[in-house]
Symmetry: C2
Subunit: 223 residues, 2 copies
């Protein structure tokens, strides 16, 4: 009975860990949406707000990291629980770096909003939407232990990569045709690259989830 009691307490602790990760994920997803919205709607105030939010994401990283270490030391988990916690440890680093990317996007937005718009933005918001959904689904697949959803995330990454290549080509054409657009094109190019990196982080998380559920390491096997 004593053992069962500990197990139950540990289950509650693991569930709290899951909730903290989802909360951190929610913050990060909002940062993705708002950083790109601040470009599309030329809303510099929203860009500033997004930059300020990175602080909260960093706080989450530190506290979830500490919690994972405590659980490893106190509960000495094995097998599936051990894998869950070690993946949580790695995953918060990805989430924190997504926050950094959103800060980069918001900084470029602030600069772009000082200049006349280059063109209506269509593909960048599309990319941001994909990236946001990928992050959400990667985290859902983690908390639910849903390998199928994680596999979907890995597959979706190729759409984001394609969009990035398409945007890069288009910007190259702009720059060659009118050198006056170079500085703005470069900024949009960075934003597109940042979104691609966000999708990569989501893919990294999803790959770890597949490993967690299937116990098989698919990293470096799915191209």
């Amino acid at each position: 009975m004593g053992h069962e009691h500990i197990s139950r307490a540990f289950d509650i602790e693991l569930d709290e860990l899951r909730q903290s990760i989802l909360q951190m994920g929610g913050k990060v997803e909002l940062m993705i949406a708002n950083s790109v919205k601040s470009i599309v709607e030329r809303d510099t105030e929203l860009a500033e707000k997004t930059i300020a939010q990175d602080h909260e994401v960093n706080g989450f990283e530190v506290s979830i990291d500490e919690r994972c270490l405590e659980l490893l030391a106190l509960r000495q988990p094995t097998a599936r629980d051990l894998r869950f916690i070690t993946i949580a440890l790695k995953l918060v680093t990805d989430l924190e770096r997504i926050g950094d990317q959103c800060t980069n996007i918001a900084r470029r937005a602030r600069e772009l909003n000082e200049e006349p718009p280059l063109k209506p933005y269509i593909d960048i918001p599309r990319m941001a939407h994909w990236a946001e959904v990928m992050v959400k689904e990667a985290l859902d697949s983690f908390v639910r232990g849903d390998a199928d959803l994680a596999i979907k995330v890995c597959k979706d990454d190729s759409f984001v990569d394609e969009l990035n290549i398409q945007i890069q080509r288009e910007l190259l054409t702009f720059m060659i045709e009118d050198p006056g657009t170079i500085s703005r094109s470069m900024k949009l190019n960075y934003i597109s690259k940042s979104l691609e990196r966000i999708a990569d982080h989501a893919t990294n998380i999803a790959e770890m989830v597949i490993f967690m559920v299937k116990g098989k390491d698919i990293r470096h096997t799915i191209a």
Copy 2:
């Protein structure tokens, strides 16, 4: 005596883990040097060789990850050993991603070598050298538990950031003055960005080492 026996075996295991990480680091450092050498010396064969080496780095990541999980499950470490192993788990992800960046650089090198050189490369090899030293020192600081060396790595990151900004400005001038250089300038720009990201990974590792040694989380406090 039984306990002492286990401790000793565990010390040997931890030392083996350290050696594996240094070996992986050695591969990665060579990839940084060679990816940039393949641009400077216009050596496409070396670029191909570098791309092929990423496979070995990925293999190291998978095996070190597994080893860390085994040690956590079998030895149930606490305190300093626990922190060491969890940081090893995070750190190999950074090393693996440095390998990916080197692959990106080598791919761009392959493309650049098909076109006439844009200019003599001076700052990019300088940046690569800094980045390589930072990775080496970050790993040395980890295996030795040397917080002072880790702090040096964090400080060095600002040099790489400055070089990156300088290169970006120079390339922007090239592109505006002669649109015929845009495509090549964009590739060099990516390479510069990749080197900056490699230095960021080294900084991430160094910050974790400071946490490991001092037990204090300095991430998000050193700008």
